[in-house]
């Protein structure tokens, strides 16, 4: 069992989840608000872009990110100059790639959570003196709480099992970019099926535990509001 790879996968999944919750919360709120005309068309464009990783092959996304973060492009050179090192083949690069790749898994549950709240509740809050921020904090966030949990579990488990993007951006550097799924690939390449079986089992258990926690929390939340 490659413990270093397991720890790196858990760290990558935890950081990606935190980053995506911070990004997806305001973005999901904005996407869930009613819009008309030109603004609605712009929102559709943003929705399409944030959903793109769902249909794009991970290797394509990984390749473009590798090029963008590398020294061959102006943004890559600027980032290298600012940080003192290239983001490609680094843990930070992995986080950026994972966050982009898992973005729809955070955005879609959160948008769904906000849009499932009755507009009458927001209207009621408004006439009770709550401005836009208060409506967001005092009505939107508490009522969409199960959606945040759903997003967190989906992003975490999705990142744990990520392969294509991680391999393209991070390569296979032990302790730095070698995650559990890359370790599994290596084990299979080396015909070490016993280790591969254990690694696969860990990946399955992590995913199953996350989903069990999610469905349990969902059931408790529904019974509390029923």
């Amino acid at each position: 069992m490659d413990w270093q790879a397991l720890l790196l996968s858990l760290r990558l999944a935890a950081v990606t989840t935190l980053v995506l919750l911070a990004v997806a919360c305001p973005l999901g709120w904005w996407l869930s608000q009613p819009a008309f005309g030109g603004r609605a068309r712009f929102r559709s464009l943003v929705e399409a872009i944030t959903s793109l990783p769902l249909v794009l092959p991970p290797t394509v996304l990984g390749f473009y990110l590798l090029v963008l973060l590398g020294k061959s492009t102006a943004p890559g050179r600027w980032l290298t100059h600012m940080l003192g090192h290239s983001l490609a083949f680094s843990f930070t690069g992995l986080v950026i790639g994972s966050a982009i790749y898992s973005l729809p898994f955070a955005i879609q549950p959160i948008v769904g959570g906000f849009t499932s709240i009755s507009q009458t509740l927001f209207d009621t809050a408004a006439v009770l003196g709550a401005g836009p921020w208060q409506r967001f904090w005092r009505v939107g966030i508490p009522l969409a709480r199960p959606a945040f949990l759903r997003a967190a579990v989906l992003v975490f488990t999705h990142t744990i099992g990520e392969f294509g993007v991680v391999l393209m951006i991070g390569g296979n550097i032990p302790g730095s970019t070698r995650t559990l799924s890359i370790a599994l690939y290596d084990q299979v390449q080396n015909f070490d099926y016993a280790s591969a079986t254990r690694t696969s089992l860990v990946l399955i258990c992590l995913s199953l535990a996350g989903l069990l926690a999610l469905y349990g929390a969902d059931r408790r939340h529904r019974s509390r509001l029923a």
Partner: protein
């Protein structure tokens, strides 16, 4: 904060002249109305525009053209580009379904609208509303643990705890049985005696309209078609109701 105009009447009534058209719809709301600091019944069948008018007054729907003055304060004036948002209007709005926040207890629901007040003032207003609408024993319950009548009582306390300067009631007692409705009406009338503000009460129920109001406004297809005392405006409906009550029942 609401703007006031020097030539607007500094009273506790309201002066309204609004038009609103839904995008892609032929329906046009076009209403001009003065509200006395008393009950006014907005009578009309489903689709007449009652809820649309109330939502325009609350600021939940934009008005296309017109003005809204309440107690001398300007809430909307399209010519001057004024549109005070709903959270700054101090309006009371009670919808047909009591939209209590499901994640809060009854007490937290009632306190929602006074959260920005200083603690002492907040406590006084909260206690008074809970007492007046007999919600004290419901304080710790969540909305899922309340009956229809209890839900509406808590919703009423929550609406009135803020001491609104205009109260909009959108058929709020439709689902309640008769004794419960009577009891809530009495509480509300008692509250109004102390506040003396304009109350616009939308209903399609003739008995309710006659019971409550000295002034009825009849709305049809977005326009006022009659207004005056209930005996005059609702004469036809009252006669039909009387005939129905007098007819021998099987």
């Amino acid at each position: 904060m609401p703007d006031s105009r020097p030539d607007s009447p500094r009273d506790t009534g309201a002066r309204i002249a609004v038009t609103h058209r839904f995008a892609g719809s032929a329906f046009l709301l076009d209403v001009a109305l003065d509200l006395a600091p008393d009950w006014t019944v907005l009578f009309g069948h489903s689709g007449a525009g009652k809820s649309t008018l109330l939502r325009c007054l609350a600021g939940l729907l934009p008005i296309d053209v017109g003005t809204i003055f309440v107690g001398g304060d300007c809430w909307a004036d399209t010519a001057r580009g004024i549109a005070i948002p709903p959270h700054q209007r101090n309006v009371g709005w009670l919808s047909q379904r009591p939209a209590l926040f499901p994640h809060l207890t009854a007490a937290e629901n009632v306190a929602f609208g006074v959260a920005n007040l200083p603690p002492q003032q907040r406590r006084e207003k909260f206690e008074a509303a809970m007492e007046m609408f007999r919600c004290r024993h419901l304080a710790a319950r969540t909305p899922s643990q309340l009956s229809g009548g209890e839900l509406q009582r808590v919703a009423l306390a929550r609406t009135l705890v803020r001491d609104p300067v205009l109260l909009l009631l959108d058929e709020p007692f439709d689902g309640l049985d008769f004794p419960l409705r009577e009891s809530v009406f009495e509480d509300l009338q008692q509250w109004q005696q102390h506040r003396n503000i304009p109350i616009l009460f939308a209903t399609h129920d003739v008995a309710e309209a006659c019971k409550f109001s000295t002034h009825v406004v009849r709305l049809d297809s977005g326009r006022i078609v009659a207004q005056g005392p209930p005996g005059h405006v609702l004469l036809r409906e009252r006669e039909k109701l009387q005939q129905w009550l007098d007819s021998p029942q099987d």
